[in-house]
Symmetry: C2
Subunit: 172 residues, 2 copies
């Protein structure tokens, strides 16, 4: 039996992965970020090859993860998750700082962030799994609760874009 809905039982957190290329910044929403090893601290993130952020990470070999809070407004998620950086500058109205690797780190609606250098990039069908060596990580607001993907989907009634690792096509 292959009941893909059952995969929603896995727990994920909602994050923004951001990167840079030729002096430009971009980022998108991901829910597939996890720590791989404690020492040295390494992290993995799965990014769809169609996303502009994928092109930026491939080029610069650095990325940041901003961990979103439950209180994040849906329009904010819409801007980073459902628009493409090919059409708009997502950072124009965002509060961010530039990290030690030169990537932009979103600070709006964020619990904490992680900055990493790409150690490996694994080709997995439609996605690339970027494995990063963590060079910085910090809690921004300890009073905020990280947004779980189930919270986004069930409480906020958020949608999942076609390019997400957890997307399921609705059969007619």
């Amino acid at each position: 039996m292959l009941d893909l809905e059952s995969l929603f039982k896995l727990s994920y957190g909602m994050c923004i992965v951001s990167s840079k290329k030729d002096g430009r910044f971009n980022g998108c929403i991901v829910n597939t970020v996890f720590q791989l090893t404690p020492e040295p601290p390494m992290i993995a993130v799965s990014v769809n090859k169609q996303n502009l952020t994928h092109e930026y990470i491939t080029d610069s070999k650095v990325f940041a993860i901003s961990i979103l809070a439950e209180s994040t407004p849906i329009p904010f998620i819409g801007r980073f998750g459902f628009r493409t950086g090919r059409d708009i500058d997502k950072f124009q109205r965002a509060n961010y700082k530039v990290g030690i690797t030169g990537v932009p780190i979103i600070l709006d609606n964020v619990v904490g962030f992680i900055e990493a250098e790409v150690a490996d990039a694994i080709d997995v069908e439609t996605h690339t799994l970027f494995i990063g060596r963590i060079v910085a990580c910090e809690t921004i607001d300890d009073s905020k609760i990280p947004m779980a993907y189930t919270y986004y989907r069930d409480i906020k009634h958020g949608r999942t874009p076609r390019t997400a690792a957890t997307y399921i096509e609705k059969k007619p």
Copy 2:
């Protein structure tokens, strides 16, 4: 700044990864399981090289993930997470079934399960990241809530073993 505690802000689910070797079964607790791609459905799990389950997955090239419920008793997590299959048969007193790949699938305290064939194994320092093609996945009990790692740590006051991807050594 490298504040490793901030990495706890990432959301994870508590799972058992299980496998087989020479007619024997073993499994251990992991909190680093995530879906990589929707089509074909693929999954990744990070397992410490010291774990017996790592040896079993490397040998059989198949594994199952059982997604644990919030209601899972701590002694059950203790048996799978803090004992080694080199000393005890963890499946002796467990309720399980054998999946289509021949691996044991834990059914106690479980929300759902995923069965996968290893497509790739990435060496990442102390851990191996197994990338699996999902061959079966099913919800077992839709009324149960999956146990988030934060729930285990903060509500159940569960400990983290030294071999976990998210382990932080307490400085004296």
